[in-house]
């Protein structure tokens, strides 16, 4: 068959156009409970398509991702947040319960449809209650259309989610955290690499007559195939890319490849100037790509290990196996499990975080010179009635039953809500517990004009406990931001800006603030929508540690009807649609 030359050209252009616009990649997911033993202890997890963790999505930049979700949980609603996706034009697909949509109810189907606009290592997870901590998560990798443009080379890649793990149900955790009789979740029982850990079954009570008839309290089976360590299998001499993200509920994690150095090349979907490290701090919500070469003695296997930092650890090292072909991946190393730097060496933590700067050869847009708005957000733990809350500027976020995106789009906010405060008392003493009597609850958004350049100064402070301040990783939906700098003590507008080198500011979607320290980010409010900015620690978010950024509120796109049906959106006549 010979094509007419003009038609042939048209055909070629059509193909090209499809290629450039990206393909449409569809998934059908059923969400159900699943009895699973990620750390050898039986637990009910929230699973996708009967698997844990959820399936890894691999697409190419520019592709449209369509995920049709069927909720088969008997009584719980669900949503799925696509961590790191900007959702430009699709703020309703951001997957945050009562912010971007109503929860998907039992028996309901819901179609997420959005563009994977940028390359990078990302993930997805439940964003309703503390469902992420119930195991409701998976990885999302966006590959470049042409791999040769990447500023590094490797032979093969592995995707690894890191997590901490509790045996208590998230329902119990959710209750304990907000109850008047506040009860903290405590340290995790296990650490998971690729969804696998190993609890010490000898710590689980083995009592006579245990059976389903007498309580069936806890089952631990150290030989369960579900808790066989994850294996990273390598060929000697080859180079590997590990895509590592933390979906941790709480812990600041430190990742080590025994005997191998790693080169960090990507953080939160952005190439960084390569940094060689012995170990990698990974805060919840962060993503990294590291390269390593299988250049060690191939006759044995090695540990990959993960430890808790930034809190006094009481959880054993979580391990995977770095296995050299043709060794049996089940051949566990006889060496000690990897040890991480001291948990409370916060100076080291900050210096490690400061290593990551924009890749010099892959300069992305530099941050604007001028800022339209400064937000000073004081990270605050405080009492609330007889319980505890976390807050920004003493406003603890509490969702309503109406998605805030719909509330702004369809004028359901009632009387114009008081804007949350842009700052906090200038004489606030960050070294002492809060002087305010108790937290306030709220859910109003910070409102920005479209195109505003916004600086957020996250200011850490002392918690309710004397001489205590914690690391909080803050995550911004709908955007990447420039990370302008970290510092210790109380931020000083007059002097601290001068210390920042904006010429190599990396772009990120998640960034830690260190104890009694500050972190400054800058972003452009160019994405019409309502975007959470919150601490990615699941219990802290559940206790209210987050704010909402409203952008282009008069340009919000219509919400598909499937996103509505709860709270004030039960009645479409409210909405005029």
């Amino acid at each position: 068959m010979i094509l007419h030359p003009i038609l042939g050209l048209a055909f070629f252009l059509l193909i090209l156009s499809v290629t450039v616009q990206g393909a449409v990649i569809e998934f059908n997911w059923t969400v159900n409970y699943l009895r699973w033993a990620p750390d050898c202890v039986d637990k009910l997890v929230i699973a996708i398509n009967e698997g844990f963790p959820g399936p890894t999505i691999n697409v190419t930049e520019g592709d449209t991702i369509k995920v049709n979700v069927l909720n088969k949980l008997p009584t719980e609603g669900i949503v799925i947040h696509w961590h790191g996706m900007h959702q430009k034009g699709t703020p309703w697909a951001d997957g945050t319960a009562f912010v971007s949509q109503c929860p998907i109810g039992p028996g309901e189907e819901f179609l997420y449809e959005f563009v994977a606009a940028r390359v990078g290592t990302y993930f997805y997870h439940g964003h309703h209650g503390m469902q992420r901590a119930a195991g409701f998560y998976g990885a999302l990798n966006v590959h470049p259309r042409n791999r040769t443009v990447e500023p590094f080379k490797y032979d093969k890649e592995y995707t690894i989610l890191l997590n901490d793990w509790w045996h208590k149900s998230v329902h119990e955790q959710e209750y304990n955290l907000l109850a008047d009789s506040f009860k903290w979740v405590g340290e995790p029982q296990s650490l998971l690499i690729g969804g696998r850990g190993a609890y010490n079954c000898s710590k689980v009570p083995n009592f006579p007559g245990a059976s389903s008839d007498t309580g069936d309290f806890v089952k631990c089976n150290s030989s369960s195939p579900q808790c066989v360590p994850f294996s990273i299998t390598v060929d000697p001499g080859k180079t590997y890319r590990l895509r590592i993200s933390s979906v941790a509920s709480l812990a600041a994690l430190n990742f080590i490849l025994e005997g191998h150095v790693m080169t960090v090349v990507e953080v939160d979907g952005h190439y960084v100037k390569p940094v060689v490290v012995d170990n990698l701090d990974v805060y919840s919500g962060e993503s990294f790509s590291v390269l390593f070469t299988a250049d060690q003695d191939p006759s044995r296997n090695y540990w990959a290990g993960v430890n808790v930092r930034a809190r006094l650890p009481s959880t054993p090292t979580g391990v995977a196996v770095l296995s050299y072909n043709p060794n049996d991946p089940g051949m566990l190393p006889t060496t000690p499990r990897p040890v991480s730097p001291a948990w409370n060496d916060f100076a080291l933590s900050m210096s490690k975080a400061k290593q990551y700067v924009a890749h010099p050869d892959f300069k992305e847009p530099l941050p604007q010179k001028a800022t339209d708005r400064h937000l000073f957000l004081l990270n605050l733990q405080n009492t609330w009635k007889n319980g505890r809350r976390w807050s920004a500027n003493n406003i603890s976020f509490v969702p309503t039953s109406t998605p805030i995106l719909a509330a702004y789009k369809y004028n359901l906010m009632g009387e114009a809500p008081a804007s949350p405060p842009d700052s906090y008392p200038t004489d606030y003493n960050i070294s002492a517990p809060p002087p305010f009597p108790e937290a306030n609850e709220g859910h109003a958004a910070y409102e920005f004009n479209l195109g505003d350049v916004v600086d957020v100064i996250i200011q850490n402070a002392n918690s309710l406990t004397a001489s205590n301040s914690e690391i909080h990783p803050w995550h911004l939906h709908g955007h990447d931001f420039w990370l302008l700098g970290y510092g210790n003590g109380k931020f000083n507008v007059s002097t601290d800006y001068a210390t920042m080198d904006t010429s190599q500011a990396p772009r990120r979607n998640t960034v830690p603030v260190f104890p009694w320290g500050w972190t400054v980010i800058r972003f452009v409010a160019d994405n019409p929508g309502l975007w959470p900015f919150h601490c990615h620690i699941e219990p802290h978010l559940h206790m209210g540690m987050g704010v909402i950024f409203g952008e282009g509120l008069n340009q919000l796109p219509d919400m598909p009807k499937r996103t509505l049906g709860c709270g004030l959106t039960k009645d479409n006549s409210n909405i005029g649609i």
Copy 2:
């Protein structure tokens, strides 16, 4: 002040009218999780206003009950079913998820408003997933406007809910029951009287180093005030009414007052010919009033006890204390705990059930002589894929995400669904496991003309296990029915009707069917609505053992918008409202 005679009469008539129409009794309930130890073992329960069980409602016949419910569970929807209320004109207030309404979502408020039309002993409970088994229930007593009309006298009354109790979360139970790897809930760990039981803490593992950091598996505290036995305090010589209902998830219970006979005077809100009993079988969903006189040696206290019948028991007797004033209610009897009749004496079970007939002096309407429709419902356990289901006529009920009441009211059922079958093969062998390859799933209603007189013949059969058939208590929403009779073996239309004495047929809302036996009920389809008729055993209902009766489908009242918002009712333009 002297009233003008005409105005005075008008005022009097106004008062009278208010009295006759009944008062409006309002409640504000917040539903939350609560850590509670009903049997001394810590568990998360679904609680109302921070209490367990839920508050007892006491109203007078004809009163309007308004309950405003605020759902504070983080991710679960809720509904509340008012067991025994007919909901005439308010089918949307029946409180069954995906039948009469959408679940009340997290953060949402919902107003139930209905008339307590008839006197009697009733209760309420969650009817979404297996939330009743999570402790989401309470008592509802409707008192006569004039107590002297009751055919018995007593000095004081107590309201007692009986229940069985598991330590596993209902989420785990729900999963296990419908999983391909079907796992039965097993026998209860404890039996509760008035929300209190006592697990043997010595059976709970006590392992070294147990703390919140190492798993915090199970806490059992035998001296917790939450599991102090319920006490029935009496004055010597006086007569008491006990209002007893079973909200059991599974167990057929037998209630005993040590040393005291009881006179049964009410069943399911209807006075019955008094029956003196030593012990009382109470199936899940049934309500009784019994009278007893405190006529025993007042120097000591006595046990009230509850045991499992109809299944091989492995649960200790649940106890309360019958305490004679001025004894200390904490003075436990030193006598053995009450023993119930043999669990598998099913002939005794049926003969006990047959004792209850309509009170001769308080004749309510007799059943119609002629019947418009016969439904033969075969109780069937069967396989489904790799799991198990319960069914009627091999159709296992599976809810959709759209309330079936809205689906019929607003024509959202799609193409006219196939009606479920009115019968089953006449040669069906009830003594053997089912010959069908597997169950079918469905959710269509049986449709009746308004005013139809309907006979339902509930036919029990062998389960999947050879030589096994179980008692199932069937409960009808929206109605009381006449209980025409019980029998053994396969029902024979030609001969068995002749054995029934309809002249004293009692009215009921719940009735058991005995192993390999049949039960026949008659009711008038006079209540426009969609009404579940189902086995009241929570795991059986969860596994599909129920049907829906549709009555007066062209006369269904409008549904308040607050009942909608899920499934196909997300979009009000579907509904034309």
